[in-house]
């Protein structure tokens, strides 16, 4: 696959919600950016900036009114037959913010991780499916012996690992991380970030890392887009955004990050 075509290209995407009869909220205003193969693209913005909406638009959980989103050559925003939807759903997966609500409380981990295999590789023999589940659990740092446990018996960090395992079962090309560590303790955040970086190499994965925490986004991303009230204000590689920001808003964001002050 020649690497000139970007893995994901977003062109002039706009999306607005109908909050009440005569009140439109413009969540995304004419956003364009692209992600290369194997790149981690950081999308940073405060609450209400539209960063999650952008993630959900790429995941096709919400449909923008205008613009196009292409995964390599395939357009995602057009009407798809169920077959097309099934195929394209293998390539893009998402992990969410709240580990409590991202997993079905009534399912065991095994059922949770078998679901993607049932849907996409139904024909595989049962034993092979279970083996894939066990190896994937090890790869995300979970003890396979816990496969038959219910979700509520796991800590926040472990649940996020289960979500990551589920997302990677079908070897997606793009992983969308929507505030995936915001709900975790600091020490657990570091574990998950290390895991995501190592998985990127292992699975040759590209990622969109959506967060309000600019320092974490800077640490993990190769390029960063700063979004404010639906507008993509600035895109540059991580260090330029972090050390030599152009836009005033990015500067104010950087300034607001609590610095260690030892008076």
């Amino acid at each position: 696959m020649n690497n000139t075509i970007p893995l994901l290209s977003v062109q002039n995407v706009s999306l607005s919600f109908k909050q009440s009869r005569h009140h439109q909220v413009h969540a995304l205003k004419n956003i364009s950016f692209s992600i290369k193969q194997g790149e981690i693209f950081g999308l940073v913005g405060e609450s209400g900036s539209g960063k999650s909406t952008m993630g959900r638009a790429i995941a096709r959980l919400v449909t923008p009114q205008t613009g196009s989103i292409k995964l390599e050559t395939r357009e995602l925003l057009c009407k798809m037959t169920s077959k097309e939807r099934l195929d394209s759903s293998r390539d893009i997966q998402m992990i969410f913010q709240d580990p409590m609500s991202a997993l079905n409380p009534k399912w065991t981990v095994m059922q949770m991780l078998l679901e993607p295999l049932h849907i996409h590789q139904g024909k595989l023999p049962k034993q092979e499916k279970e083996d894939t589940v066990f190896t994937m659990m090890q790869q995300v740092g979970l003890d396979p012996a816990f496969a038959n446990r219910y979700v509520h018996e796991f800590s926040g960090g472990q649940r996020q690992r289960i979500s990551i395992a589920r997302a990677l079962m079908n070897r997606p090309k793009l992983l969308i991380c929507d505030e995936s560590i915001a709900a975790l303790d600091l020490s657990i955040q570091a574990q998950i970030v290390n895991l995501l970086k190592s998985l990127r190499e292992q699975f040759n994965l590209s990622m969109i890392f959506i967060s309000h925490d600019l320092s974490m986004v800077h640490y993990i991303s190769d390029r960063i887009g700063v979004i404010y009230k639906g507008d993509l204000l600035e895109i540059a590689d991580a260090d330029t955004i972090y050390y030599h920001p152009q836009h005033d808003y990015t500067k104010s964001l950087l300034h607001a990050i609590p610095k260690i002050t030892l008076v």
Binding site: L61, R85, D98, E115, P116, Y150, E153
Partner: protein, 301 residues
């Protein structure tokens, strides 16, 4: 003295600390078994259902056999609860009455759960126009004068067991539908639904595989709470003479029949009322305990 200050590899956290909880329903069963109130209710319900099923073998006499020689006789070794105005054995009639109450209550509640679940699920999950239409229907059924409509329906369909099922079932699913709809609407926004949709799962898969297991506990509680209401509704209808045809024994009809003898032979009405109350109470108490046992908050960490 072993030098206590040597570096040792990390010991794993003692596993008995980690609370391993199995399936929600096994855990609930363990909780219920240990709770005296839940246990007595379960036993009472079991007795009721068994006596309803095997009434002919359990009841000492044929419920309709009239011994005109001794009407309204006081309790005696032969007739533990005495006889009614036609000399029929009250105890046997009560046992056969249980058959009517149980079958109507369980039957109508089964219909209520099915209709209530699907209407609530589709309204809650689909949202938009469909939700508005179904909510409108729910509102209509909720605004029907309930008892009046049961009466009218039975009038149209004629008295009889099956028609009682339908009448009570068709009229009381609105409550269940409303609860299921509210729960599905909150579940729908949970991220595991988005994740499954992104996996390529179909609406049907999400509704049956993801939403149903989460709605089932409250459906069970609603059913357990619905049965006693159905028992009372059936008794009210037969009290008004709209239940099963005379002379079949039904609790409501027996209370109506016992009314004139309230002062002279109060046991007749009291016994029937107490038995009905106990059976309704058993279901209500079981329903309370079930709701706590199946409460996700308790099982969640």
């Amino acid at each position: 003295m072993l030098n206590k200050f040597t570096l040792v590899p990390k010991a794993p956290w003692p596993t008995d600390q980690v609370i391993t909880q199995e399936n929600l329903y096994k855990r609930a069963w363990k909780l219920l078994r240990k709770d005296p109130i839940a246990l007595t209710s379960l036993i009472l319900i079991a007795v009721l259902i068994i006596s309803a099923l095997f009434a002919p073998w359990i009841a000492p006499y044929d419920p309709n056999e009239q011994m005109l020689s001794k009407p309204l006789s006081q309790p005696s070794p032969q007739h533990w609860l005495g006889t009614d105005e036609f000399g029929r054995d009250i105890l046997s009639r009560l046992i056969f009455g249980a058959r009517i109450s149980m079958s109507v209550a369980l039957g109508s509640q089964f219909i209520v759960s099915i209709i209530g679940f699907w209407m609530g699920l589709i309204a809650g999950y689909m949202g938009g126009k469909i939700d508005r239409i179904i909510s409108f229907i729910i509102q209509i059924f909720a605004s029907f004068p309930y008892l009046l409509f049961a009466m009218a329906l039975i009038f149209v369909l004629g008295p009889g067991l099956l028609n009682l099922f339908l009448a009570l079932g068709l009229l009381s699913w609105a409550g269940t539908a409303r609860v299921v709809r509210a729960q599905v609407m909150s579940l729908k926004h949970r991220e595991f639904v988005d994740a499954s949709w992104m996996m390529g799962a179909s609406h049907y898969w999400i509704m049956t595989k993801h939403l149903f297991p989460n709605v089932l506990p409250s459906l069970i509680v609603l059913a357990t709470m619905g049965i006693p209401n159905a028992i009372i509704a059936e008794a009210s209808l037969s009290y008004l003479g709209l239940g099963v045809r005379i002379p079949t024994a039904s609790w409501g009809q027996m209370i109506f029949a016992a009314k004139p003898f309230l002062q002279t032979f109060p046991l007749y009405s009291i016994a029937t009322g107490i038995l009905m109350m106990l059976s309704v109470l058993a279901f209500n108490l079981l329903g309370d305990r079930l709701r706590d046992a199946l409460d996700p908050r308790l099982s969640g960490r």
